[in-house]
C-alpha cells in the first residue's frame, strides 16, 4: 500500500533529518484515517471520543489507546491471524491471560524502522562488531520484541562471534526485563569476551538492565574485572519491576565501567515497549564520538512524536513537568499509533527523560489492590 511504502522511504532517510510538524501531522492523519477504517473497533472508539479522521487536525488530536488495552483486544488493521509475528509483554502479575499482545502484520515495516534508528545510536561510527546478547535466542523467546530486535540487528550488523548468552528457561521479556536470572551462560560469555579481548575487537553487548546486574554481580563475587576492547559499547533496557534487586542507573553504569571497562559514554539506554514498534535511544554514544557534550535523554526518531500529559486531566504539560508519556508512532501503521503509556516522564531539550512506571506504587487504603485480588483468587482476565 502507498502509505506503507512512503513510511519505509521515510525510515530509510534515517534519524538525522527531522520531519517538520506539518509533514508529520499530514502523515499522522493519513495513518489515523487508515487505522480508523481498517480497525473498526478503533474507529468506533475514536468516534465515541468525538474525534473521527475528519475532525483531527494534528497528531495530538488522535485519541490514544492505553497500553493495557493490548491485553484485552487484538488491535490490528486487518486479521490478527495474518500477523507476521505476535509480540507479547513479559507480564507482571496474573499470568498468561493478562499479557499485552502486539500483532505485527508487517515485519518488513518494523525492520525498516528499527534498523536505521538502532544503527545511528549504537553504531554511529559504522562499526560492525560481534554482538553479545544477554538474552535467550529467538527460538527460545519468539514472542519477545526485544530479542527480535537484537536478532535483526545481529543479522544486519553483527560480525561472526555474535550470539546469545542466556540459556533456555531464562525468559525473553522486553521492556519489563528479560531472564538472565539463573540462565546466564557465564562461562560461554567469558570465553566470548576473552576471544574479543585477544583479537582486540570492540564488541556490542546488549541486554536488559537486570541481566547486566546479574552478570556484574557474578563478576564482582569472583573478583573479576574484564577489560573489553576500546570502542566496545553496551545497550541496556528495561527496569526492575517484579525483580528482587533494583539498582539505580548511576550505580549500574559505575559497575559497567568497573567490571567491563566500558565508559558511561558508551552505555546507551533504550526505551521501548511491546505495544510500540519504534524505539527511543539515548544519543550519548553519537555525541561522544562526535566530540559533542554528552547529555542523557531519550530522543524520538523523526517518525515518532512524544508529549507529556498531566496524569489527572491528560492536558499537555510544558517541558520540566512530570507526567504520563503519550507517543504517536508512525511505524505502528498496522496497529494503533497513538499510545498512552503508564510511564512517567519529563520533556527536556531535544527529548525526554523516562522516570519510571506510574503503575508501580502501592495502593493506599485498606481496600485490596486489583492485582492482589486477582492473583489471590487465581483469576486471570
Amino acid at each position: 500500500m502507498e502509505l506503507d511504502r512512503e513510511l519505509k522511504d521515510l525510515f530509510a532517510r534515517g534519524v538525522d533529518r527531522p520531519l517538520d510538524d506539518e509533514a508529520f501531522d499530514a502523515l499522522a492523519l493519513r495513518v489515523f484515517r487508515h487505522q480508523a477504517g481498517a480497525n473498526p473497533v478503533y474507529g468506533r472508539y475514536a468516534r465515541a471520543r468525538g474525534v473521527s479522521p475528519d475532525d483531527a487536525a494534528r497528531w495530538s488530536d488522535v485519541p490514544p489507546v492505553p497500553t493495557r488495552a493490548f491485553k484485552r483486544l487484538a488491535l490490528a488493521c486487518g486479521d490478527p491471524d495474518d500477523a507476521d509475528a505476535v509480540f507479547v509483554t513479559s507480564g507482571t502479575t496474573g499470568g498468561e491471560g493478562r499479557r499485552g499482545r502486539h500483532h505485527v502484520l508487517d515485519l518488513d515495516l518494523y525492520h525498516a524502522s528499527l534498523l536505521p534508528n538502532l544503527e545511528a545510536h549504537l553504531l554511529p561510527d559504522g562499526l560492525r562488531p560481534p554482538i553479545f546478547a544477554l538474552l535467550p535466542p529467538p527460538a527460545e523467546a519468539p514472542a519477545s520484541s526485544l530479542v527480535h530486535m537484537v536478532d535483526v540487528a545481529m543479522e544486519r550488523f553483527g560480525a561472526s562471534g555474535s550470539g546469545y548468552f542466556v540459556e533456555a528457561g531464562g525468559d525473553g521479556g522486553d521492556d519489563a526485563g528479560s531472564g538472565a536470572g539463573a540462565g546466564l551462560a557465564a562461562a560461554e560469555l567469558r570465553r566470548a569476551v576473552d576471544g574479543a579481548v585477544d583479537a582486540d575487537e570492540a564488541v556490542l553487548v546488549a541486554g536488559t538492565a537486570f541481566s547486566f546486574v546479574h552478570w556484574l554481580d557474578a563478576l564482582e563475587d569472583a573478583g573479576v574485572r574484564l577489560r573489553l576492547p576500546p570502542g566496545s559499547r553496551l545497550m541496556e533496557t528495561g527496569g526492575f519491576k517484579g525483580r528482587s534487586r533494583s539498582v539505580p542507573r548511576e550505580e549500574l553504569y559505575g559497575a559497567v565501567e568497573e567490571r567491563l571497562g566500558i565508559p558511561g559514554s558508551h552505555v546507551v539506554n533504550e526505551y521501548g515497549m511491546t505495544e510500540m514498534l519504534s524505539q527511543f535511544w539515548e544519543p550519548v554514544l553519537r555525541e561522544a564520538l562526535a566530540g559533542e557534550p554528552v547529555r542523557r535523554r531519550h530522543v524520538p526518531p523523526p517518525w515518532v512524536r512524544t508529549r507529556v500529559l498531566d496524569p489527572s486531566t491528560l492536558a499537555p504539560l510544558p517541558p520540566g513537568e512530570v507526567g504520563l508519556l503519550h507517543h504517536f508512532d508512525l511505524a505502528n501503521l498496522h496497529s494503533v499509533s497513538s499510545i498512552l503509556t503508564e510511564d512517567l516522564g519529563v520533556a527536556v531539550e531535544g527529548g525526554f527523560h523516562v522516570l519510571g512506571r506510574a503503575g508501580d506504587a502501592e495502593p493506599r487504603g485498606c481496600s485490596i489492590a486489583m492485582d492482589d485480588l486477582l492473583s489471590a483468587s487465581g483469576t486471570s482476565r
Binding site: 465515541a48 489527572s312 491528560l314 487504603g365 485498606c366 482476565r381
Partner: protein, 465 residues
C-alpha cells in the same frame, strides 16, 4: 513543604534529634531514629505507665477520657481539629470537605456513647474488665487485656489506627503504635490530645514512626508486646508473622473487598435517584480506598430502571456529588490506572462488548456499565462498575471465589428478601451486610472482618465456686 513530627512519647523517651523520616503524600515526616534497643526501653516504660495509671482505671473512666479527645476533634475551632483538617489533605489528597466528613465520621465513633455501646455489645457485663463479675453457670469472670499491644498501621484511611489504639485502651492495654506512612497524623494528634486530658493515662501510649519494613525496631516491638494488631495486605502480614517470635499473638486485618447490591425495589421510579446518590456517596467516601468501600454494584433486572439505566443515573449522581464532596488529588499512578481502565473499557465498548463508559473530563469519577457479570475489582478513587444480575441471590456465586477477602456488602431495595440474601452472602464469605446508605460507616461494635473487635485481645480468668 509542611513538616510534621510523626511521633509522640510520654515525656522524653527517644534519644536523638528528629530527622527526615520520609513523606506521607505531601507531608514531610520528621522522627528520631529508632532502633531495637530504643523500642525495648520504650516498651518497659509503657508497661510501667500502664501499671501506674491505666491498669487501675475503670473501663468507664477510660471511655470518658477517650470521649474528651473525640470531642476536640468534633468541636469547630478546636486546635486539634484544625490541625487534623489542615494535615489530612496533605497525606491523603482529600479535598477539605472529604477530610471533614472522614474526620467527623471516625471521631464520632470514639465518643462515649458509641464506645459504651461497643463494650455492652461484646461483654454481657463490661465491668469484667475492671473486676471479677458474676457470669454464666455460677462462675465469676474476669477479662484481662494484654499489658502491651503493638499496633502496625497501613494504608491511609485516617483514623483506622486510632480506632485500633482506642480498642487497646478499652481493655487496659498499653499501646505502642506504629502508623503506616499513610496515616501518621491522627495517631499523633490523638496521643497529644489524650496527654492533655489525662497525662498519667497517656504514659501508657506511644506513637513511633520508622520507615517501612525496618527490621530492628519492628522485630523488637513484635517481641516486646504481648499481642500485635496489624493492618495490611496479605504479603505484608505474612512477612510480619515471619518476623514475630513463634507463638506470638497477632490479630490481623487484611485488605478487603466490598461491593454493593441494588435490588429492583431500589430501582423503582420513585427510588432510583436516591439509590444512585447513596451508591455514589458510598463509593466516594475515603475516595473508595476503605475496606468498606464498594468496588462495584450489582444491579438487579426487573425494576423500573434497568441496570444500564442505573449506571447512567449513577454517573449523574457522581457528577452532582462533585459539588458537595469534591474528588481529591490523585497520585500519578492512581490517575494513570484510571485512564488505562477507561481506555480498555471504551475499546471493549467499541468492540460491541456491551459496555458503556461514563466519566468526568478529568480523572475524578468513572462509571462503567459492564454486561459481563463476573466480579472485577476497581482501581479505586471513584471508579465503579455496574453489572447486571437477574436475581440478587445470584450474586453469591459471582463472588464466592474471593471469599477470603470479602467484607461488606451494601444493599438497597431487597425488602423481604434481605435475610435470605444475607444468608447466602454470609456463606459466600461476606462478614457484613449493611444498608447501602451506611455501608461506609460500620458501627464500633461491628464484627470487624468477622471478628469481635475487643474479645480477641482479652484473656479470660474463671473463678469457680
Amino acid at each position: 513543604m509542611t513538616a510534621f513530627d510523626a511521633w509522640w512519647t510520654p515525656g522524653p523517651a527517644l534519644r536523638g534529634e528528629p530527622g527526615d523520616a520520609g513523606r506521607s503524600g505531601e507531608l514531610v515526616l520528621r522522627a528520631p531514629e529508632v532502633d531495637g534497643a530504643a523500642v525495648e526501653s520504650l516498651a518497659r516504660r509503657l508497661r510501667r505507665g500502664r501499671e501506674e495509671a491505666l491498669a487501675s482505671l475503670d473501663a468507664d473512666d477510660v471511655v470518658d477520657r477517650i470521649d474528651a479527645v473525640a470531642s476536640r476533634f468534633l468541636r469547630r475551632g478546636d486546635r486539634l481539629r484544625e490541625q487534623a483538617l489542615e494535615l489530612l489533605p496533605l497525606t491523603t489528597g482529600y479535598a477539605p470537605a472529604m477530610a471533614e466528613r472522614v474526620l467527623g465520621g471516625m471521631a464520632r465513633d470514639w465518643q462515649g456513647d458509641r464506645l459504651r455501646g461497643l463494650l455492652e455489645a461484646e461483654f454481657d457485663d463490661p465491668a469484667v474488665l475492671d473486676a471479677f463479675r458474676p457470669g454464666p453457670r455460677g462462675r465469676r469472670l474476669r477479662a484481662l487485656g494484654p499489658e502491651l499491644t503493638f499496633h502496625v498501621g497501613a494504608g491511609n484511611v485516617p483514623g483506622v489506627t486510632v480506632t485500633s489504639l482506642v480498642r487497646a485502651l478499652l481493655v487496659k492495654s498499653a499501646a505502642l503504635v506504629k502508623p503506616g506512612s499513610g496515616d501518621p497524623v491522627l495517631p499523633v494528634l490523638f496521643a497529644r490530645g489524650l496527654a492533655g486530658v489525662d497525662p498519667e493515662l497517656a504514659e501508657a501510649v506511644a506513637v513511633v514512626y520508622w520507615p517501612g519494613g525496618a527490621g530492628g525496631p519492628e522485630e523488637a516491638a513484635l517481641a516486646a508486646a504481648d499481642a500485635t494488631v496489624a493492618y495490611g495486605g496479605d504479603e505484608a502480614i505474612r512477612a510480619l508473622r515471619g518476623r514475630a517470635p513463634d507463638g506470638a499473638r497477632i490479630v490481623a486485618y487484611h485488605h478487603r473487598v466490598s461491593f454493593g447490591i441494588v435490588a429492583r425495589d431500589a430501582l423503582s421510579a420513585e427510588r432510583v435517584e436516591e439509590t444512585a446518590y447513596r451508591a455514589a456517596e458510598a463509593a466516594s467516601i475515603f475516595e473508595q480506598r476503605g475496606c468498606v468501600s464498594p468496588h462495584l454494584f450489582y444491579a438487579e433486572r426487573g425494576g423500573d430502571a434497568s441496570p444500564e439505566l442505573f449506571a447512567e443515573r449513577l454517573a449523574g449522581a457522581f457528577r452532582r456529588l462533585e459539588g458537595e464532596l469534591p474528588s481529591g488529588r490523585l497520585r500519578p499512578d492512581e490517575a494513570s490506572a484510571i485512564h488505562q481502565l477507561r481506555g480498555e473499557a471504551e475499546l471493549e465498548a467499541a468492540a460491541g462488548g456491551g459496555r458503556t463508559v461514563y466519566r468526568s473530563d478529568d480523572a475524578a469519577w468513572t462509571v462503567v456499565y459492564d454486561h459481563d457479570p463476573a466480579f472485577e475489582p476497581s482501581c479505586l478513587n471513584r471508579v465503579v462498575r455496574v453489572k447486571p444480575v437477574d436475581e440478587v441471590h445470584d450474586v453469591a456465586d459471582r463472588v464466592r471465589r474471593y471469599r477470603r477477602h470479602l467484607q461488606t456488602v451494601g444493599v438497597a431495595g431487597a425488602g423481604g428478601r434481605l435475610a435470605g440474601l444475607a444468608e447466602v452472602l454470609g456463606k459466600a464469605g461476606v462478614t457484613r451486610v449493611a444498608p447501602l446508605a451506611s455501608m461506609a460507616w460500620p458501627p464500633p461494635w461491628w464484627h470487624h472482618d468477622g471478628m469481635d473487635p475487643l474479645r480477641p485481645l482479652v484473656r479470660w480468668v474463671d473463678l469457680e465456686g
